[in-house]
């Protein structure tokens, strides 16, 4: 993420220092590239990570997704047109379906010993159950296990699907992560309310045995905390997933900024490294999203 800002500032610094003697030949190359192709204003980065109505398969052409007229629900105008990220979510779901069905088939054949795919899926399912859900919530968390498993696998596949060529990361769109965070918000509040009752839950938000004059402050802080937790979940996943892709894209873009083939080996080596790092980050972010949701559910269930 910061490297894109660095490229931008480098380009502008170079064009500003053109009047001064040209000490750095590289920087002038960057500024001339900026003036001819206008690649240094950052819009190409946003074009790459933003949602669009076109699926690009360069150099083979592109697919224009079907558009629908906006639907009016009350005063709201809702545009239900297909976009790139929606198609990618469907692609991730399809992959997930194939993956899990393949695992299920192994259980149907021989009931006790998992083989092949089933082994991999079983390891992850057991990890989510024992380390994340039971670890953060306790035994009563097993009732919520289907939600957490769905969340983990959906986020994981959405993160990883962007690493396949010609695809993009659906979790790099803030609307997707916001939807996940809103679902997490309702799960957290509902599990608290079911366990403590509506009044008991909101009363229990403020810790007991604190001085009377602190209580108004605590009420505001705790009420804000209810909303900042899912908001942080949403921004964390979005920023992590789009940051990695911006870094890869910027590293490749360096070749075109410098107009030199000698930059290519360095750029590509770094881009491969960041791509490998992205696989790791995809797993870690899926784990962190699930873990933090489970932790917040655990906090709502066991107040104090």
């Amino acid at each position: 993420m910061f490297s894109s800002a660095l490229i931008d500032s480098a380009g502008h610094a170079a064009s500003a220092s053109n009047a001064i003697a040209d000490t750095a030949r590289v920087l002038t190359a960057a500024s001339s590239a900026a003036s001819t192709n206008d690649v240094s204003n950052g819009s190409w980065i946003i074009d790459h990570v933003a949602d669009s109505h076109v699926l690009e398969f360069q150099p083979f052409g592109e697919i224009h997704l079907p558009q629908f007229p906006p639907v009016h629900i009350g005063g709201l105008v809702v545009d239900l047109s297909l976009t790139k990220h929606i198609v990618m979510i469907w692609f991730a779901m399809l992959l997930l379906l194939i993956f899990v069905r393949a695992a299920m088939r192994s259980y149907r054949k021989n009931e006790l010993v998992p083989r092949g795919f089933a082994n991999a899926v079983e390891v992850i399912v057991l990890f989510v159950r024992d380390d994340i859900v039971v670890g953060a919530i306790g035994e009563e968390g097993k009732k919520l296990l289907p939600y957490f498993l769905t969340l983990f696998f959906f986020v994981l596949f959405c993160n990883l699907v962007g690493l396949i060529p010609y695809t993009s990361t659906p979790t790099g769109n803030i609307n997707v992560t916001a939807a996940l965070a809103i679902i997490a918000f309702f799960v957290i509040q509902a599990s608290g309310i079911v366990n403590h009752g509506l009044v008991g839950y909101f009363k229990g938000l403020v810790p007991p045995n604190i001085p009377l004059f602190v209580i108004p402050v605590m009420i505001i802080v705790e009420l804000l905390g209810l909303f900042t937790k899912p908001f942080a979940l949403c921004v964390r996943l979005f920023a992590n997933m789009s940051a990695g892709h911006i870094v890869i894209f910027s590293l490749i873009g360096l070749i075109f900024i410098f107009h030199s083939i000698f930059i290519a080996p360095i750029s590509i080596a770094f881009a491969v490294f960041i791509s490998l790092l992205e696989i790791l980050i995809g797993f870690i972010q899926a784990y962190i999203f699930t873990m933090l949701t489970a932790l917040f559910v655990g906090l709502a269930i066991h107040q104090h």
């Binding site: 910061f2 660095l6 921004v235 964390r236 920023a239």
Partner: protein
């Protein structure tokens, strides 16, 4: 465009400062976690879990700052 140049300068400096803060925080956290797991190898799993959670919280704040800087840079 002096204004745009200053905005980009601010975005670059801000991104760097946020990374310094986040890097320092996660570095301290990882150092303590390594030390703790060296002292008590049995508690490795628990230490790693709480380390990742704390790292995610630190990283979250850093990423807020980075999102602000990227909005600045792209304005």
């Amino acid at each position: 465009m002096p204004d745009l140049g200053l905005t980009h300068l601010a975005a670059g400096i801000g991104a760097g400062l946020a990374v310094i803060g986040g890097g320092y925080g996660i570095g301290k956290l990882a150092a303590s976690a390594m030390e703790a797991s060296g002292r008590q190898p049995d508690a490795l799993g628990d230490i790693r879990t709480s380390m990742i959670i704390a790292a995610a919280l630190i990283e979250g704040v850093t990423l807020f700052a980075e999102v602000i800087t990227i909005i600045l840079a792209l304005k």
